[in-house]
């Protein structure tokens, strides 16, 4: 249909049919006041603030709910429109407490602003005001429901976007209240968005409450480093200190929303564990020192090992949240020293196919395009907890008719409908996935032992029929002992269904790590190396004499915490660049160099779809900590290495970008091996819970409190009710959990989402830090 011509405030405008007046006005930059309308939510038209005059209409009409008509003439500032807006404002304020001086929203409140712009200084209302008792809805959101103007944005967000309807409008008329009705904490992992949505101070951030006023804050754009989507955020600081984080719209990545992990991880920034000074350990005693001494000590220690044992005795491990610049400099130091033992894939163990990757483990669809896909296959992915915003996009797609299939190790409850699923224990997982692959490609000799079920055939058919199919691999698929085989199968399924293939990596910058050479087999820029170094597993299995760590907390961040700690403790010399200290770090390190988190450094993150996003440091360095890229630069100089004279992080990036100009084209060709029938034993599902993924989130207390509410007790072993019987256990028994030589005790919880022959024992948390592989065999007994 062709565009419709209308006129707003005398300005001729053109717009698509079915647009609402307010949309057209917004696009033309004509502001119409509103409370309930939000471009991402359905139209409720309940606040009436957007009343405007329409030619030939005796009454003012709501701009948010009035579709445009050819020749329509709208007046947003005529006496009639203004009178209507003023009257609505007066009604809205009847029950509002007008407690702005003690309200956290004061200074950034839509009600305050609009009342100033469209209201009146007086009210005719002389009766008692209504008040509403507050509810406790969890550690993240503070409520002050007397301030609520019942726009229902928060209710619609839960219903329409988050897919978890937790808030509602109960009661009627004068007694209507927004709340949960029965006391309960909000479970959604994107709940914080209702704070941004609420036009008044009814819903505010609990941790931020009473700590700063909006007008004292400086706002800086930044990028959150917690998942592979590259979520855009605004960081608010006061006198150089981060006070809170709110969402920043970017249509190409996160859209309008951010997840609670991105919003509240800042709470860990100034945790008591923050390192304040460089520290060195001499004769077993830790002492604070100055940077010069510490750096010289570090360089000398590493040099000694290189002289005595050779450069290949040094290994470097970096968190996948590091910036591209940090990765680049770390690998540059390592390679000039003569070692390619560098990796960021800390929780992965199968690297047999690492040469088959293209430049980085990419997601072949743009993130913004996920919501337009027609068919999804999730492979080993707890999407909603790993990439909450991707789950929201998938949900959006399903509401438009897309179907989702899942091959998973746990029967997750998602906020979107799953059309069909196969749930298999980790050691049976490859076999389960093979069924679907074989339904596509019966001739593959590697799959000769595989049985194809009716379900496999049906799923394959639907994937093939999908107009825009995408296969998404999640953390458990990547961390699986047979990850290469899983990739090969999934890639085959993607190709056979003419769909896209997508790896959703852990951490905020795995793509940047690959591109900048923080992998053992490729140089910065992506060239394959003649002589590949050791990957994250090998350099621990064949323990090195020295390690250089960048923000690694081995007890929580690695595939096999136990083995990692042992290797580090046995090493002669360990240098750790770290934001936080921990007892483990103090046990194995020889030098600890305090570096800044993402808020205190400039850097670049590359998301799963390959979008580069640079950000600047937005807060003051904490005590004596320094940006890691600067520390690495100085180390390079102290080692007398070539080309470490960078003046800024941008220069580092420029150098990498030049290398990438000549980057080779690696064909994505995964290789398969024979798929065998799984054995009969019990395996561990060592998933990393939503707020345990990195050092910063682990130290954000409000997130930790939320995690125990939404995930239940994680210091436990969860098994299917049938498994409990088979093992001769009972619910809440304290069981002995053994993994090659390590033994811990954990209470048993019955959880029927866990498949048979498997036990869910989370990783990344204190209670399980003494265990071995995240996805290996495990024994459970009384």
């Amino acid at each position: 249909m062709s565009d419709i011509e209308i006129e707003i405030d005398g300005k001729p405008l053109k717009a698509k049919p079915n647009s609402m007046v307010i949309q057209v006005a917004d696009e033309a930059g004509i502001y119409i006041p509103r409370f309930c309308y939000h471009k991402e939510l359905s139209v409720a038209a309940n606040c009436r603030m957007c009343l405007v005059e329409m030619e030939k209409s005796p009454k003012a009409v709501p701009a948010c709910a009035t579709p445009i008509m050819p020749g329509m003439k709208i007046f947003t500032r005529s006496p009639k429109a203004l009178a209507a807006q003023k009257a609505v404002m007066e009604f809205l304020l009847i029950n509002h407490p007008l407690d702005c001086p003690i309200c956290d929203q004061g200074g950034e409140c839509e009600l305050q602003d609009l009342s100033l712009g469209y209201g009146s200084a007086n009210s005719y209302f002389t009766f008692g005001k209504r008040s509403v008792a507050d509810e406790d809805i969890g550690p993240l959101i503070e409520t002050e429901m007397t301030r609520c103007i019942q726009c229902t944005r928060c209710v619609r967000f839960g219903d329409e976007i988050a897919g978890l309807r937790e808030l509602g409008a109960t009661g009627r008329g004068e007694h209507m209240e927004i709340g949960t009705y029965v006391q309960h904490a909000i479970h959604s992992e994107v709940s914080g968005n209702i704070i941004d949505l609420c036009p008044v101070g009814a819903l505010t951030s609990k941790p931020f409450r009473y700590t700063a006023r909006a007008w004292e804050l400086n706002q800086f754009p930044s990028i959150a480093p917690h998942d592979c989507l590259g979520t855009n955020i605004h960081v608010h600081t006061r006198t150089g200190k981060v006070m809170r984080v709110v969402s920043r719209e970017n249509k190409e990545t996160n859209g309008t929303w951010i997840a609670d992990r991105e919003r509240y991880s800042y709470l860990g920034l100034y945790h008591g564990d923050r390192l304040t000074k460089p520290m060195i350990r001499e004769h077993g005693v830790w002492k604070d020192t100055d940077w010069q001494t510490a750096l010289e000590f570090a360089v000398k220690g590493l040099q000694d090992v290189i002289h005595q044992d050779g450069a290949e005795q040094v290994g470097a491990l970096a968190t996948p949240n590091s910036t591209t610049e940090e990765f680049f400099l770390l690998q540059k130091i390592m390679r000039q020293l003569g070692s390619s033992n560098i990796d960021h894939r800390l929780r992965q163990i199968d690297f047999s196919d690492q040469d088959s990757f293209s430049l980085f483990p990419e997601l072949e669809v743009p993130i913004a395009d996920l919501e337009n896909c027609s068919t999804f296959l999730l492979v080993g992915s707890n999407l909603q907890k790993e990439q909450p915003l991707a789950a929201i996009s998938v949900r959006k797609a399903t509401l438009k008719g897309a179907s989702v299939f899942a091959v998973n190790m746990m029967d997750y409850r998602f906020n979107f409908k799953v059309a069909d699923k196969k749930i298999a224990a980790p050691h049976e997982f490859v076999f389960a996935l093979s069924g679907i692959a074989k339904a596509f490609l019966p001739e593959l000799s590697e799959l000769s032992d595989v049985l194809v079920t009716e379900q496999d055939r049906l799923i394959a058919e639907r994937l093939r029929a999908g107009e825009k199919t995408v296969i998404l691999l999640g953390a458990l698929a990547l961390n699986h002992p047979q990850a290469a085989l899983i990739r090969w199968l999934a890639h085959h399924i993607a190709k056979a269904s003419h769909g896209a293939f997508g790896i959703l990596t852990e951490g905020g910058n795995a793509s940047g790590a690959w591109l900048s050479g923080a992998v053992p087999h490729r140089a910065a820029g992506g060239d394959s190396l003649q002589q590949a170094g050791m990957d994250a597993q090998t350099m621990l299995q064949q323990a090195r004499q020295a390690y250089l760590l960048l923000n690694v907390e081995p007890e929580f961040d690695c595939a096999n915490p136990r083995m990692t700690i042992e290797a580090l403790e046995a090493a002669k010399f360990v240098v750790s660049l770290s934001v936080f200290k921990s007892p483990a770090l103090e046990r194995f390190a020889n030098v600890i160099l305090p570096v800044g988190p993402f808020t205190e450094t400039a850097g670049t993150l590359v998301n799963a779809a390959g979008q580069w996003q640079s950000f600047r440091g937005v807060a003051n360095a904490y005590e004596e900590s320094r940006p890691a890229w600067k520390v690495l630069r100085v180390m390079g100089n102290l080692f007398h290495l070539q080309g470490f004279d960078y003046e800024s992080a941008e220069e580092v990036l420029q150098e990498l970008k030049l290398l990438l100009k000549q980057s080779p084209a690696h064909a994505k060709e995964f290789k398969g091996t024979k798929v065998k029938k799984p054995g009969n034993f019990l395996s561990r599902i060592g998933e990393i819970p939503i707020y345990a993924i990195d050092g910063l989130t682990r130290r954000a207390e409000a997130l930790q409190a939320t995690q125990s509410i939404i995930e239940g007790d994680l210091a436990a072993v969860r098994v299917h009710s049938k498994t409990v019987e088979e093992l001769g256990l009972r619910s809440l028994d304290v069981a002995k959990v053994q993994q090659n030589g390590c033994e811990i005790r954990l209470p048993v919880i019955i959880d029927d989402r866990v498949p048979l022959r498997a036990a869910y024992i989370a990783g990344g948390i204190k209670a399980t830090q003494d265990l071995g592989e995240l996805l290996g065999p495990v024994e459970i007994s009384v």
Binding site: R165, E166, G168, T170, G171, R172, T180, Y181, V182
Partner: protein
Amino acid sequence: MTKTSCTVLSARVRSEIDHWMLRYPPERKRSAVMEALRLAQNENGGSLTESVMDAVADYLEMPKIAVYEVASFYTMYNLSPVGQHVINVCTNISCMLSDSEKVLEHLKERLGIGLNETTADGKFTLREVECLAACANAPVAQVGKKYYENLTPEKLDALLDELG
């Protein structure tokens, strides 16, 4: 169906809800919520509890809060326990002009309770309601499915004796 709804709602109520569900397309079965709540309330001695509402939500596969919204919106769902007979006295304009105030006073005195209270023996609950659409015969009260019109203290006494 899932466990909660089966333990809280009786087989009879569930089969009656099933009967109502047939009137709506399967993906809209939540449309049966009002009838489901009515049936569940009847079975539960005239009022709804949180667990009963949760069971209805579970049975109709809808968010619990959506059930609470419906139950708290309509005054004929009781969210706290009520007596065997709920006496709803209209105090809206026509009844008010016809002395509904006196009707209320008389009932309060005879039953020894105030508004929204229940007699100690659990027989009567007294409530005030808006227009019952029987203004021609004001003052009016409703008990169960029956209207009692042109009320006087004598008529009320007779009514209470009859019910008691």
